[in-house]
Amino acid sequence: MTLLAVRDLDAFYGDFQALFAVSLDVVEGELLAVIGANGAGKTTFLRAIAGVLPVAQQAVRFRGRAVGGRPAYELAAAGIALVPEGRRIFPSLSVEENLLIGAYRERPGSWTVARVYELFPSLAARRRQPGTNLSGGEQQMLAIGRGLMANPILLLVDEISLGLAPLVVRQLYEVLRVVTAEGTTTLVVEQDLSQVLQVAQRVYCFRKGTVSLTGRPRELGRAEIAAAYFGV
């Protein structure tokens, strides 16, 4: 069943058009990846469907309802959680408070602070420290944990690998695989293909604000992906 249907989505920053008629489906229960080079429009795409950027109402349908252009706080309440680029941990809040704020809308579900600590034990040890005291990898764990605390129907994750060691990135993708297997549909945006193609069930490649390729990673050839990615 299609959870999120994006049709002919255009997005702008002022006069600059960043997305051109992007169409994409997220199927319930899958781990979907959007890949693309810097500037391909991946982050813009996530921000548009999370309600941070204004877009046309009919361009985004979530669970059958046209939600394009609804404010982010409303979409968060409806079950879309975005783990933003650069983590964006709240510096005034402790690690635990950063998790608790994720549950601000009190959506029902199985994610609790205790379960997030189970998933990321290193966070539990530092629960009282300011969230921004953590290492980059731990901050990414915290950001993902904060997103899960919303008990989302659709989890959007922007650029997990940014500035992190390959080993940490692999752990985080393993976590996302588990999270998806447990029932949270996940859409990740990624520039670094080394890990994401191993866990994603389907992939969309973006180039210059349009979809240049889509399919299952196993069925797509390296050359095909490279061509869609770099445009060579």
Binding site: Y73, L82, P84, R88, S92, L93, E97, I101, Y104
Partner: protein, 289 residues
Amino acid sequence: MAWVDTVVQGILLGGLYALFATGLSLIFGVMRLVNLAHGDFSILAAFLAVVAVQVAGLNPLAALVVVVPLMAGLGWLLQCAALNRLLGRGLLPAVLVTFGLSIIIQNALLETFSADSHGLNPGGIETASVRLAVVTVGWFPLLTLATAVLVLLALQLFIGRTALGRAFRATSDDRETAELMGIDHRRLYALAMALSLGIVAVAGVFLGIRTTFTFASGPDRLLFAFEAVIIGGLGSLWGTLVGGVILGVAQTVGAKFSPGWGVLTGHLVFLAVLLLRPQGLFAPSRRVG
């Protein structure tokens, strides 16, 4: 002993200044807005208490039960109807609106209550005093300071311990990410403005009991509140109390040398802090709370 007395009176006066400054500090901490009508709102509250006393025969302190919710509701309305519409257009438009409001409130008060001085009489407590060791202190200044401490304590607990307070801090840190958490910052700002005007209503009524006031008393109150906030450190609630106390003591000590020097000495201390420690004495690591 006279000096001890002067300092103690200054500390108590500082309680009143802190009460004025708390709402200003809160609004700045949560939404980076300097409310230039803050002092005028306090005077508006004092006049509302005058009306409550005249119409319903209430004691001014009892009138707080009416005046505080009224002012809080006005704050909510102000934020929803005016200031929220200006979000995302930079700092200046909202500050200009509060500047305009300051003028409107003063003129409306002048039209309604004339230019005469008004006062609030709570029936005895304003002159009653108690002897503490070597100094005599008034019950009412003591009540004022205690109220300021209680208000700050309650606000501290609210911001530090509750889910809503957490949302205040998160929004102050990063509004866009807070919105991704499901926080509607417009509602939060309206609540902050309601709290701010509710607290300054208490300050205005206490001021009216302590001294007389006119339609034009607001800007002075704003100035003292602003100085208390800056001395204490922007966004630090307890810093606001200390800032108010330092300002109060500076004023009473200055006035001890010559009656005309009180306010001037306060300004000089404020200037000294600005020069030597512009971030204030208690520059907070977190911006609210």
